[in-house]
Symmetry: C2
Subunit: 351 residues, 2 copies
């Protein structure tokens, strides 16, 4: 089969690889219908995260079950499924608490599972899924989704689940005012998640006209282009002299975290999902003085997918709009370039 | 009148001071029935917090209204009242959000109010209370509480409200497992608050037999004397191999914050009320990886007093047990010594 490998910074190749096979009774093999490139895939691409050897890459996919191991009874051949961005067992205490990203038997795509077997990356034609029954979510009544539905289902694998996690972590709810820091795919999904959870005032912080327009389409009521103190002043003015009840931090840099903290009212909530880089921090004394709640981190997509899926299937949310580009799998190198150069918000890959 | 002043590290004096008088129409003058010494009063006493001049001290008191300004209609002469550890207006956006410690017109005891008038410290015979109607909470049906009730009412001024804030910030609720780091008056109140909120398993971390015994009396189901990794291992063992759902940090040091963080399960909640000192921090990456929620800071005692007061008056909670010593106001210097030397958990002062 054909699959995407990263050899080093800027070096993405689509290659012939062995077709996956069932290794354990709990496995399934899924033929990938759509995958995509994530902002976090750009870290090794940009050399920010070192690679010791050429690696399979990609962690977001939807597809069709092709085969299952002997222990898999809840999934059948032909089921259309969504894969969260990590797999999980569903049984250990963290999974039982809904924190599947802390699963004691976790495995990542493009890595090895706890039994030492290779797990394919998502940006390829097929993937072996360990702990398949606990990991995969079947899309009921759907076997061949159209392009728009496929795109929305694919966002549940990561970006929409992550935007939702930011909103939940920031205690977004009816009547709360919301600021979203970050206009990438996750930030845009955060806007949509905030609207879905009932926020009536949603301020998207964006300096890019196309992304700001998409934010408005997804539910933003206001756009603030300014950053730093000026940005905070704009938020305060828009909200009638006060700061936001809930702020979603969807970038992860020192600057974005400061922007988020300083946009949150005393006693408000900050949900952060941007992977902390470049000295991002939360000064404890600031939290103490402001009574701001902080929560976030990696989203347990597996936990969130069922409720979000209902709304996608009902047509009440359309997170697939964050894909502004679709390419064939063979074009993966160009997909990475387009995202690296910010010519694309998010690229969907069709194997 | 007689009132307590701090002149410098270790130098507490009870002196003659002017009796307070109404300065603004919203003021009340309260004759203090009981005050007490707070752990935070020990900072200037120990020289940790510098003093530029001799200052009035004390921020926790209950007492009887002696006179009111022309605008005060909800309080009358003779009312027995509880004063939160700061005053607040009740009208500004933070107050409306229940975050009275972020009041835009806040004043502290022993400081000056926004009009520039001196506000007496609580460890004295009488105090002028600015913004009296919004600040003070009347104890209904009580004019001369007995010693036990007086002690419990006095804890609502700060320590019980603060312990409750830690528990609320840590999302304590029915069925949640709880660890309390810190066995001072606030930690002990945190134990009681956790029990009141329905926690069934409450682990108090304490190395002092008397405090541990009191923690058990207040609702702790287990006591862990070990600290560091050993303490975490003990918590994990007591909870059947997992960490706590909710952890209350009631100290504020680097060590106690680490103890608290490392005792919290993935996706659990840490409520912190210990004033951060000595390099206490929350590493953002740790939060990201663990999905731990963090909230806390200064408690908005004014917001919490009404609900806690109901339970004190009903006799279902007895937070006054944290006072293990009662002294006359004139003994304030000895009260500070006893707390500084940890001979007393908390000293109640009777003017």
């Amino acid at each position: 089969m054909r699959a995407t490998m990263i050899y080093g910074p800027g070096d993405i190749r689509v290659e012939d690889r062995d077709y996956p096979a069932i290794k354990m009774p709990g496995d399934a093999v899924v033929k990938v219908a759509a995958a995509c490139v994530c902002g976090s895939d750009l870290w090794p691409y940009r050399g920010v995260k070192a690679l010791s050897e050429p690696s399979a890459i990609g962690h977001e996919f939807v597809g069709v079950v092709e085969s299952v191991g002997a222990d898999v009874t809840g999934l059948g051949v032909g089921d259309f499924v969504i894969a969260p961005f990590v797999d999980s067992c569903g049984q250990c205490p963290p999974c039982q608490n809904g924190v599947t990203v802390a699963c004691e038997h976790i495995a990542g795509w493009g890595d090895t599972d706890e039994h030492g077997f290779f797990v394919e990356g998502a940006q390829g034609q097929a993937v072996r899924v360990p702990q398949a029954e606990a990991t995969l979510v079947k899309v009921p009544g759907v076997t061949e989704p159209d392009d728009a539905l496929t795109a929305s289902l694919l966002t549940l694998s990561d970006v929409m689940a992550t935007g939702h996690h930011a909103a939940v972590s920031a205690n977004v709810g009816p009547g709360r005012s919301v600021v979203v820091v970050g206009d990438g795919a996750v930030g845009l999904c955060g806007v949509l998640a905030a609207k879905r959870l009932g926020a009536t005032r949603i301020i998207a912080m964006s300096r890019h006209e196309d992304r700001a327009a998409l934010a408005v389409q997804l539910g933003a009521t206001d756009v603030v282009a300014e950053r730093g103190d000026l940005g905070v002043a704009q938020v305060r003015e828009l909200l009638g002299g006060v700061l936001a009840d809930s702020v979603l931090e969807c970038v992860g840099t020192k600057e974005s975290m400061e922007q988020a903290l300083h946009s949150t009212r005393p006693g408000g909530s900050l949900g952060f999902v941007g992977v902390p880089t470049g000295g991002a921090e939360i000064p404890l004394r600031y939290l103490f003085d402001s009574n701001i709640h902080v929560a976030g981190g990696m989203a347990s997509a597996r936990t969130y997918i069922p409720e979000l899926l209902k709304d996608v299937l009902a047509g009440t949310i359309n997170p697939g709009l964050v894909f502004d580009s679709v390419m064939a799998l063979e074009q993966a190198p160009e997909a990475y370039r387009a995202m690296d150069e910010r010519r694309a918000i998010k690229v969907l890959l069709r194997p």
